[in-house]
């Protein structure tokens, strides 16, 4: 049965599930970055998610915000690269927006994504259409605002679809940021690697919440 909200312990389980899905998806992410970047995104995300699993096993999270902040810290410290800073920022900023909250629910999902999106935008300077992870994150964040009255197990499904759609839309974009920018028109036709990661993460959250 789908959940309407998660407490800190459940959020930990969710993030462990997310981590394992990303680790499994390494080859997909590697290929995505090979097409447009330097081919290391999958390994970086795998490294980050292994660190997340260790971190969540070692230290106890008292609040849901801690779970996401710890996730962000673990990714930022272990990954390096553009995505280490950006996914670290995503989870740290997202987590900060939940400080004081006991549960992670649909409203929390919206605050999380909005703050995560702002953080990534100000850290990386990208805007929607630049063919980055923002192109999955921003539509997800907006959609989360629109569906925040639904129970979490429903809203997260819809938000995951948006992220995935955003990732698919990134295929048609011309890269202007990161390593892919010099590809110009040649970058069209492939989805952005970071956007793939965002879509997979939110889908994995949704799958966890709905089982």
């Amino acid at each position: 049965m789908g959940k309407e909200s998660l407490d800190a312990k459940e959020a930990v389980e969710m993030m462990k599930h997310v981590a394992s899905v990303i680790i499994e998806s390494e080859p997909i992410l590697t290929d995505a970055d090979r097409n447009l970047g330097d081919g290391d995104h999958g390994l970086g995300m795998e490294r980050g998610m292994n660190a997340v699993i260790n971190k969540l096993a070692e230290s106890e999270a008292h609040e849901v915000s801690d779970v996401f902040k710890m996730t962000g810290m673990a990714m930022m410290s272990s990954m390096g690269g553009a995505s280490g800073a950006l996914f670290g920022t995503l989870f740290r900023n997202g987590g900060k927006a939940l400080e004081g909250e006991e549960k992670f629910d649909s409203k929390g999902l919206h605050s999380f994504l909005e703050s995560a999106n702002d953080g990534v935008k100000s850290r990386g300077g990208a805007v929607p259409g630049d063919k980055t992870m923002i192109d999955a994150l921003e539509p997800a964040s907006i959609r989360a605002g629109e569906v925040s009255e639904l129970p979490l197990c429903e809203s997260i499904k819809i938000v995951a679809l948006s992220a995935n759609e955003g990732k698919n839309n990134s295929k048609e974009m011309v890269a202007t940021m990161g390593r892919a920018k010099t590809l110009g028109e040649k970058s069209v036709g492939h989805p952005d690697a970071g956007a793939c990661s965002v879509a997979i993460i939110i889908q994995a959250m949704s799958d966890f919440i709905n089982t």
């Binding site: 590697t30 090979r34 970047g37 330097d38 081919g39 290391d40 999958g42 390994l43 970086g44 490294r47 930022m76 410290s77 272990s78 990954m79 390096g80 690269g81 553009a82 995505s83 280490g84 800073a85 950006l86 670290g88 850290r123 990386g124 940021m177 990161g178 390593r179 010099t182 590809l183 110009g184 040649k186």
Partner: protein, 337 residues
């Protein structure tokens, strides 16, 4: 691809250990993945470099006598995380400020910036100069967006020398910026390197093509051109550097009598033989232009695993840069008497 490694996921850590060993006590490992000189004079403005691993002997191999004081090292092709930047900053800091000098890649900029924020929380004065010598990675109007490639060897050498005598951080920043402004590079690649952990090539290229202007991870350049001879390719590449000096109003163009440094870099698989053959043609070109080569540097300094390709870097010298260039230096990557 048979590689002499152990766990493919640990190559960055193990090569750093090896690098520290190569210094025979002149450098030490600090924290998770930084390398720092064993003795840093207490009155010195510090120079910190860094970047992803897999490009050996840079970046971390440029720590040494009259070179960088330390390097923050990332994993293969990945910028070092902010924690590592912080630990390296703390280790090189003498209280006189730290200049960050590294290649302009989104990942490096973000991670070093966060590292700088953390460092200034600790009361350490940090300034940043980005290396942007790759003329093919952005037009001259937006040259601050360019990538850093092999020219970094010259730029770090000059900044390292300047850091020995700079009175303050601003002075070192000024000279590093001058070295960047005066240094331009153009690279090509014929075949990709691979990522040790996946064994996958970082890009694909036709057997009959050369990537003109490609970056040191195989980032696309300005065009793909048919495979050709050393003597045909060399002037094409140097033309791009000369044109860039010409078009950029921030610096005077390269003209007769100018003194330059010339660096011919191999990306790894390209042999020293090929570098020397290209160098031969480059010197003819430069003689034709009446430009005087003050010093020539040639070898595999900035590599990308078994990637093949070559780059030319030219630094237009002035009295100040020349004086810093002349200082001897020693490191695993580059040594000069």
């Amino acid at each position: 691809m048979k590689k002499l490694i152990n766990d493919p996921l640990k190559v960055a850590d193990e090569l750093l250990d090896g690098l520290v060993e190569a210094y025979d006590g002149d450098c030490k490992k600090v924290g998770v993945r930084s390398i720092v000189k064993t003795e840093i004079p207490s009155n010195k403005v510090s120079l910190l470099i860094g970047g992803g691993a897999g490009h050996e002997p840079i970046y971390h191999g440029l720590v040494g006598t009259n070179l960088a004081d330390g390097a923050a090292c990332g994993d293969i092709f990945a910028a070092p995380p902010p924690d590592i930047v912080l630990e390296a900053t703390e280790a090189v800091n003498t209280g006189n400020g730290v200049l960050y000098l590294y290649g302009n890649y989104a990942g490096d900029v973000m991670n070093f910036d966060i590292g700088a924020e953390l460092s200034s929380d600790d009361g350490i004065d940090v300034k940043t100069v980005l290396i942007t010598d790759d003329v093919c990675s952005a037009p001259h109007e937006s040259k601050d967006n360019r990538r850093g490639i092999a020219g970094l060897v010259i730029i770090v050498k000059i900044a390292g020398a300047a850091s020995q005598t700079a009175d303050n951080l601003e002075e070192l920043e000024r000279i590093a910026k001058m070295a960047v402004l005066h240094t331009r590079s153009v690279g090509v690649s014929m075949s990709p390197g691979s990522i040790p952990a996946t064994g996958k090539p970082t890009f694909d290229i036709d057997e009959e093509l050369i990537g003109l202007g490609m970056g040191i991870h195989g980032e696309p350049g300005v065009s793909e051109i048919p495979m050709t001879t050393a003597d045909d390719l060399t002037p094409k590449m140097l033309d791009l550097i000369f044109e860039d000096f010409e078009n950029d109003s921030d610096i005077e163009c390269l003209s007769e009598g100018d003194e330059i440094l010339l660096l011919v870099n191999s990306l790894g698989a390209t042999t020293m033989m090929e570098c020397l053959i290209c160098l031969r043609r480059a010197k003819m070109y430069l003689k034709d232009k009446g430009v005087v080569v003050y010093d020539t540097i040639v070898g595999p300094f900035v590599t990308c695993q078994e990637m093949s390709g070559i780059s030319f870097s030219i630094t237009k010298l002035n009295d100040e840069l020349k004086q810093y260039w002349d200082l001897p230096c020693e490191s695993v990557c580059y040594t000069k008497l």
